[in-house]
Structure formats: structure tokens, C-alpha cells
Symmetry: C2
Subunit: 137 residues, 2 copies
DNA sequence: TTATTATCCTATCAATTTAGTAGGGAATGC
DNA sequence: GCATTCCCTACTAAATTGATAGGATAATAA
């Protein structure tokens, strides 16, 4: 399942992308428009800022804004920050590799190969999709 | 993340598939061979039996066995039984469709389209993989 | 300089899910 | 009848999720 965190994060990014001018948008505005708990959204936007997707400004007239063009924001990067590893098992993860505790031998694990294919299929989608693709409709 | 339930279930199916003769294999044997808690595996094999993947026999010489040929057991069906919906959001699920509570309009949801692509990519893999593909190595 | 606005940040929490464990019941084979 | 093996329900500890609370900090405006 996609977490609410990721879902809300994607919706917020999309919303900010529609405001093509770079002026800050307040959390409250995004939250109301997208039906998201404001406080929850606050923490999501914070992590998006900390990971280099958003800029922010405090005080009156403040808010969040994209610091890159939508077509420069790839879904693979966004998903990794919001949802975590794209792979379903750590032993096939590119960015979060870890040995499975229950597998004596990775090479002879039947699940390994299947999950490798799944990972590649997902990566293919995420690498070929940017924020720009989410708004054009 | 892939649940342990699914991972163990796949490993158990693979193990049973290697025993190509249809004689029952005891839970204990599978559990030991695959490093799985026996009691946990018990419940997993039970759901696989209830969903038509396995047959079972009680008493001495009993155990579980495949009731179809490995190449007839598709991963899409197995994943749905063990892991649940293949789609990451209910609004793009083929078999478990549900409207998202926070979306007023599905057609204008930016997440919807992305998740549709992801679902299709995953389905493509699962539909083109059978249990037979997991063992051939 | 003071008030207002809006983000920043930490801590806490209820509900749900996950990964088991416990323990007895029921069928089968000898 | 007795051992074996699956069948089935209930329970539980730990982790995760989806928030909420409340104040600190920075920017702007008066």
C-alpha cells in the first residue's frame, strides 16, 4: 500500500507545480485544497524541503515553493524520500541494500529473482516519470 | 515491503515444487529447510490450501503438496492471496477496487495516473511469471 | 519595537498491522 | 488405541502509520 504520507506528498508537489510562478504557497492553502490534515502535511513538506525538493519562507507571505522545474523532479527520487526503498526486499535494493536475515544464500533464493524483476519494472516507471507528467491533464 | 508471510509462502511453494513427485511434505521439513518459524508457516500453508494452491493430508506420511503443475501457478494469483492487492492504491485495483476517501474526483487525481502505471508494470511481471520460473536455476 | 504571521521542530499517541506463539481439536495410519 | 500430522482459534509483543499538541524561530508590518 502507498502510505498517506507519500500520497499527500505527491499531491502537494503537484499542487505547487500548478502554481507555476515561484511565489510561496502556505501549508494551509495546500491542505485545504487537497483535503489533507494541515499538521500532517506540515511534517511532509518539511521532509521534502530537507531533501532538496522544496524551498520555504517564513512569516507573512511565506510558504513553500518548488526549487526545481517540475520536469526536473523525478519520481524515483521522490518515492525514495517519501516511501522509502523502491525494492520490496532489501537484498535487491539499489540504494538501501541489505542482506536478508533468513537467506543463507542470495543466489539460490527463488524470491530474489522475482523481486529483482519487480524492482526493475517499478524503476522503469519511476525513472520515466517526472512531476511534470503528473500535472499535465 | 514484501511481508514475511508472502516471502515464506513463495519459498514454501518453491520448495514443494522441487519435490516434483506429488508425495506430501511435512510442514516441519519445509520450515527447517527454509529457516521459517514452523507455527507461522503452518498458517501460511493453510491459507494457500484454502485458496486452491495446495492439497494436504493428515497423519503419518501426511503433509502438503502442489495440486497444480508449477507452470500453471501464476504469480499474480499467489501475490493476491498472500500479499493482497497488487495495486498500491485501491482506486486503481482490478480485484479490490475502492474509492479513495480523500479524493473528490478520481479523474483529476495526479497520484491515480502514476499508480496506474505502477500497477500495470507490476502486473506485467506477475502475469508473465509462474512458480516454474522461480525454481529453474 | 512590538505584534502578527507562518514555518520549524520535538514529543506524544491511538489504531492498525505484522510476525509470530500457545494450545487444543480432528483426521489418518499403524 | 496411539502416535503423527494437519486444522483452527485466540492471543500478543513490537513496529508502523497517521496523525495531534504545543511551543520555538524567523520574517514582515505597524
Amino acid at each position: 500500500m502507498l502510505s498517506k504520507k507519500t500520497k499527500y506528498g505527491l499531491k502537494a508537489l503537484t499542487y505547487l507545480a500548478t502554481k507555476d510562478n515561484k511565489s510561496p504557497v502556505q501549508i494551509a492553502e495546500v491542505a485545504e485544497s487537497e483535503n489533507i490534515s494541515q499538521k500532517f502535511l506540515e511534517s511532509i513538506l518539511l521532509t521534502l524541503r530537507r531533501n532538496g525538493f522544496l524551498g520555504s519562507k517564513k512569516g507573512k507571505g511565506g510558504g513553500y515553493y518548488l526549487i526545481k522545474e517540475p520536469h526536473e523532479i523525478g519520481m524515483a527520487a521522490v518515492m525514495r524520500v517519501l516511501e522509502g526503498p523502491i525494492a520490496m526486499v532489501p537484498c535487491v535494493s539499489l540504494n538501501f541494500y541489505e542482506k536478508c536475515d533468513d537467506c543463507p544464500d542470495e543466489a539460490s533464493c527463488s524470491v530474489h529473482d522475482l523481486m529483482l524483476k519487480v524492482r526493475d519494472a517499478n524503476l522503469e516507471v519511476y525513472r520515466n516519470t517526472t512531476l511534470a507528467d503528473l500535472i499535465s491533464k
